[in-house]
């Protein structure tokens, strides 16, 4: 075996036998290409047929088409709006944008509150306290078994049966509870407050950076510098200092009863309140079950091992169990977040003007049903995909890193 006579199979790249597509059924490559083309062709033909058929029928029935109506004057009144809106001058496009914002207002606040409430109840169900555990179980079983639409109507009825504005329940001269909603005092906003808010955001970033450094230090030396005094200074001290430096303005706008209703202050309308309450309480029951199952999915040995290290029950939960439970919790949680967003469209039943409500009024006034429904679908698809993307990113981040 000399060096010059190396095995030709081991020297140089081995050329694969050249694949040549033969125009024959016996060639699998050719066959699969044909089938792919047939499938694409059928899909295109169906879509084309449906579109052409719709257009032809719309034209035959002389129904207006296109999205030109979005820039037309709306004329429809809107009760609750995050943006300035006047039916006399604003367009359908703006009305729909307000609808989207109203939907987001319910979905985002609802997701945050339902997560907090659901986690608390889920943990409470596992409590060693018999009463707490039973109460949490009853909550879950009752709320989960009643259709959410019924719950919304129930809360709306409850809020409607509050006394009229003149006889409203009150807390001092600041908070009023009536069938027109909850009236709250509002802070008169000035630049100093904006400054304080920016200071607070800076404080959050600073705290995160400091906590990271503390962790690196702990990994390197074993001793962990305390984070909380720094966090306290950054989160409270910094905003307070900015606010103080800008003159510490503080004025409260109180709601005052005038004419038919309260003037000034902030409002939580009965419609928004009922919708938020119904969705949060309902979804929290599901989230509680997800949290409970996630915690129980963590092997019992983890509790025992952590206990043997001398950690308290709360520390075990926070440092050992919850981080592992999150991996089980996050995927089903994503679908609950999607549910809360989609269920927000039940707002129509109780008169909260979300995007479905405004779009269906729009399609009724303009007669363009296909465009209106298309817009609703696009909005929900966009919101749902955003939630999914974020949750998938987070899921990947907390996934088990194997070493």
């Amino acid at each position: 075996m000399s060096e010059t006579t190396a095995d030709p199979r081991l020297t140089g790249p081995r050329a694969a036998p050249r694949k040549r597509i033969r125009l024959s059924w016996s060639d699998p490559v050719f066959r699969s290409i044909v089938w792919q083309m047939v499938v694409v062709g059928i899909v295109v033909a169906i879509v084309w047929y449906l579109t052409a058929n719709t257009n032809r029928n719309l034209a035959a029935r002389r129904i207006a088409t296109g999205f030109a109506f979005l820039s037309r004057n709306a004329g429809i009144p809107i009760g609750e709006s995050a943006l300035p809106y006047d039916p006399a001058v604003n367009t359908y496009g703006r009305a729909l944008l307000i609808g989207v914002l109203n939907t987001l207002r319910v979905a985002v606040v609802g997701i945050v509150l339902a997560t907090i409430l659901g986690t608390i109840i889920g943990i409470a169900r596992l409590s060693h306290n018999w009463l707490v555990a039973r109460l949490a179980a009853i909550y879950v079983e009752v709320l989960r078994d009643i259709p959410v639409l019924l719950q919304l109507l129930f809360w709306y009825l409850v809020l409607q049966s509050l006394p009229a504005p003149r006889q409203s329940l009150r807390i001092g001269d600041a908070v009023f509870l009536s069938n027109r909603g909850i009236k709250l005092p509002l802070l008169v906003w000035e630049t100093a407050h904006t400054g304080a808010l920016i200071g607070f955001l800076v404080g959050i970033v600073g705290t995160i950076l400091f906590a990271r450094r503390a962790r690196r230090r702990q990994e390197a030396t074993g001793s962990r510098p305390p984070v909380w005094p720094v966090a306290l200074v950054l989160l409270l001290g910094l905003p307070a200092a900015i606010w103080g430096a800008l003159g510490a303005p503080f004025a409260i706008e109180l709601p005052v009863l005038r004419g038919f209703n309260f003037v000034g202050g902030g409002t939580v309308s009965p419609e928004y309140g009922a919708l938020l309450m119904g969705l949060v309480l309902y979804t929290a029951a599901y989230i509680a079950e997800i949290v409970r199952s996630g915690i129980q999915a963590v092997a019992g040995g983890q509790w025992e091992a952590a206990g043997a290290l001398g950690l308290s029950r709360w520390q075990v939960l926070r440092l050992i169990v919850l981080p592992q439970a999150l991996r089980v919790i996050i995927p089903p949680m994503t679908s609950q977040y999607l549910n809360i967003t989609k269920n927000s469209s039940l707002a129509v039943a109780i008169g909260y003007q979300d995007v479905v409500s405004i779009a269906s009024t729009t399609l009724n006034q303009t007669g363009q049903a296909i465009e209106g429904i298309g817009l609703i679908m696009a909005v929900f698809l966009a919101i749902s995909l955003s939630i999914s993307l974020f949750m998938n990113w987070y899921n990947a981040r907390i996934a088990l890193v194997e070493r």
Binding site: L157, V263, G351, Q365, G367
Partner: protein, 346 residues
Amino acid sequence: MFRSTRTRGAALFAGLLLTAGLAAPAHAEGSGSATLDAVRARGQLVCGVSTGVPGFSLPDSQGVTRGIDADGCRTIAAAALGDASKVKFVPLTTTNRFTALQSGEVDVLIRSTTWTLAREGNLGLEFAWVNYYDGTGFLVKKSSGVKSAKEMDGATICVQPGTSTELAIADYYRLNNMKFTPILIQDLPEIQNAFLSGRCDAYSTDGSALATFRFSQGPKADDLVLLPEIISKEPLGVMVRKGDDKWFDVARWSYVAALTAEENGVTSQNIDSFADSKVPDIRRLLGLEGELGKALGLDNKWAYNIVKQVGNYGEVWDRNITPMGMPRGINNLWNKGGLQYAPPMR
């Protein structure tokens, strides 16, 4: 083997496309109206009505839908089918009514719907006749002390979405430089509840619906006050799809026949006594002379059937609206100071 399944699949697909393509434009031999032919083939008129407005369309204790709109459906059924009872009532909300008519789910829409330009221009629908001249009003609680709509600056108003009322109120408040908060609820009982519970200061819709709603409250009706302002014109009518002119004619002239009968004093009770009438108008109406029915593609007895089975316009009014305590007002015949004017049937 391979080949034959493939060809069969392709043929099936092509066949599907073909039948689907042919189904749409196909017109059977008949009256020249696709809708009238479909109604006859079905033996039933499918009529879109409200989900329950007393006096307009509301099922009674026997489940029979009563009201001026429901009788409108019967009038057209009597003309098209010769039998006023062959009607299927489809309750529709304010937001799905137009789609139901556009898509052909109902043959005709009689749902206290206001005749406006935009609706005829954009929706592919048109109004055949006005069966009730109405206007937007406000209902408030007596305890609020409000006497006029002008005092309602800052008020919260309950209104159904997708209605012409909604636009009329926005216009009225804009015109008077006032502000209001709308509460828009689609479901009729829900919105009435919201008003009664005090969520809104006022409930606004067509004056007729407000009056009948107030009436339906029984002894509590006196706690509610209808404000004097009528802030818009709301001619409520009969709607059909565009593009079927013959069907449009049937819907329109059925109403005209009922009006003409009232003008001539022909009622469901006395109609048979006119069999030897010498009055040309009545002879034409009853199909004793001329071929008016044929011109519409109907039986020559069409108008006779309407009056005999449903009654003339005045009878329909007296049966449905009078019990609600509403005066005939502008809905009276033109020669009695109202707006209902029948074009000549000749």
